[in-house]
Amino acid sequence: MDRLIYLDHAATTATRPEVVEAMLPYFTESFGNPSSVYGFSNKSKDAIATARDTIAKSLNADSKDIYFTAGGSESDNWALKETARVYKDKGRHIITSAIEHHAILHTCEFLEKEGFEVTYVGVDENGIIKMDELKAAIRPDTILISVMFANNEIGTIQPIKEIGALAKENGILFHTDAVQAYGQLPIDVNELNIDMLSASGHKLNGPKGIGFLYIRKGIKIRNLIHGGGQERARRAGTENVPGIVGLGKAVEIAVDTMNERTAKEIELRDYLVERVLAEIPYTRLNGDRFNRLPNNANFSFQFIEGESLLIMLDMAGICGSSGSACTSGSLDPSHVLLGIGLPHEIAHGSLRLTLGDENTKEEIDYVIENLKEIVQKLRNMSPLYEDYMRTNNR
């Protein structure tokens, strides 16, 4: 089986050839340290400035408010830990959602150990944050709300504008982890009242190991990484110039192609979802049917377990992912799937397929045909299916 159908774009994406090409000169030719005095380093300095402008423009933000980091996790850690430490005199209460990425959840757990209080607001059956619970959670000592733009597992898009307005009304900082959404959805930090935003390069056909944190002017934040005076003395360390250039180029392309690309992905996603739900019985779609990322489909197949499914798909040359416990290395299935109220056994049988630019209808047809066979094969092996069939044929 030589075929490879990559449907795990939420995990990572290929770096575009144009992006690699843009990066290459900054390894071998214009390798100067941007902090150096001599003219040779100006190319590095200018390249960073250009990338920063491109990114700022994509968010309707000020270039001075974009800070490069090593990726989404660093941005999330920085945003939460280092604003919490500054604003702790105002209060020690933070609000987030129950279905955040672990970069947020584990940072919140860390902050709890440091004496902060965190409220984890629940979501409805489609994964949309409960706005009434969020409103009710606000207290005089609430300093920060952090809610992801769109969920990495089930693709649900959150009511960011409403949350931003609510935070502003109450004088609370608002951070959003936009790692999955950035490049797929238009984002205007002013319109949405976003104070801080995390993003990552490798989710939008940029390189790995580079990301940024948008920090609105006036927000007090301490350094996570101490050292030299890079990034306006807020994030130390010699800049990852090729990475920054690559990120800038990836963002430029993502913005230019967004409408066309996402329209095509939505069409393909809907085709996949409709066929799977119609042709494979005892299957559900996880997340909101329409209010979801253009490239995300997440299913639960009753009576089977996700890791088995992934291995069999892999043997057919198909790359996907699952929220099953066996794929997470713990006994519990994904907190996101449990968060939307799925029973454990249904959560174990989940499959996430995330599309990219290069996927075709023909590939999706191949995936569906294989999926039908594999699901049936695993069900024929499953005692749960046997019991169900016996009970229902009685």
Binding site: E307, S308, H344, I346, M381, P383, L384, Y388
Partner: protein, 145 residues
């Protein structure tokens, strides 16, 4: 992640199925944890396991350990089957990743549970066999999608 033998037993599992009017059936694990194994024995009058089938809900390792366990007990007497430990199953599969060792324990328990069922049905006591501790949980929710 998995040895070639594990992959082989996962891709081509031996003895998948059910046995009508089985001499003994054992089901262990629970759906909440993501693993359920069921083993069926057809045991003859000489207490030899004439046929064995299994069904498993679980990961690749769970399927492979079930398959290997059935291979190891087929044609054996019930006392020989009782000697098939989780370690024997793991060794026969050329090992398992540490997080998957519990799958081999489940296979051992499934054999014991099926033997226990056989003993109960026939009103006999199998020396050295204890009542299996792990048992399938009730299906509190039979939701359909």
């Amino acid at each position: 992640m998995y040895s070639e033998k594990v992959m082989d037993h996962f891709q081509n599992p031996r003895n998948v199925g059910e046995i009508e009017n089985a001499s003994g059936v054992g089901t262990v694990g629970n759906a909440k944890c993501g693993d359920i194994m069921r083993i069926y024995f057809d045991i003859d009058e000489n207490q030899v396991i004439r046929d064995v089938k299994f069904k498993t809900f679980g990961c690749g390792a769970a399927v492979a350990t079930s398959s290997m366990a059935t291979e190891l007990v087929k044609g054996k007497t019930i006392y020989e089957a009782l000697e098939v430990t989780n370690k024997a199953v793991m060794d026969a599969l050329d090992g398992l990743p540490p997080v998957k060792v519990h799958c081999s324990l489940l296979a051992e328990e499934a054999i014991h549970a099926a033997l226990w069922d056989y003993a109960e049905k026939n009103g006999i006591k199998i020396e050295g066999l204890e009542k299996p501790k792990s048992d399938i949980s009730e299906h509190e929710e039979e939701e359909e999608y």
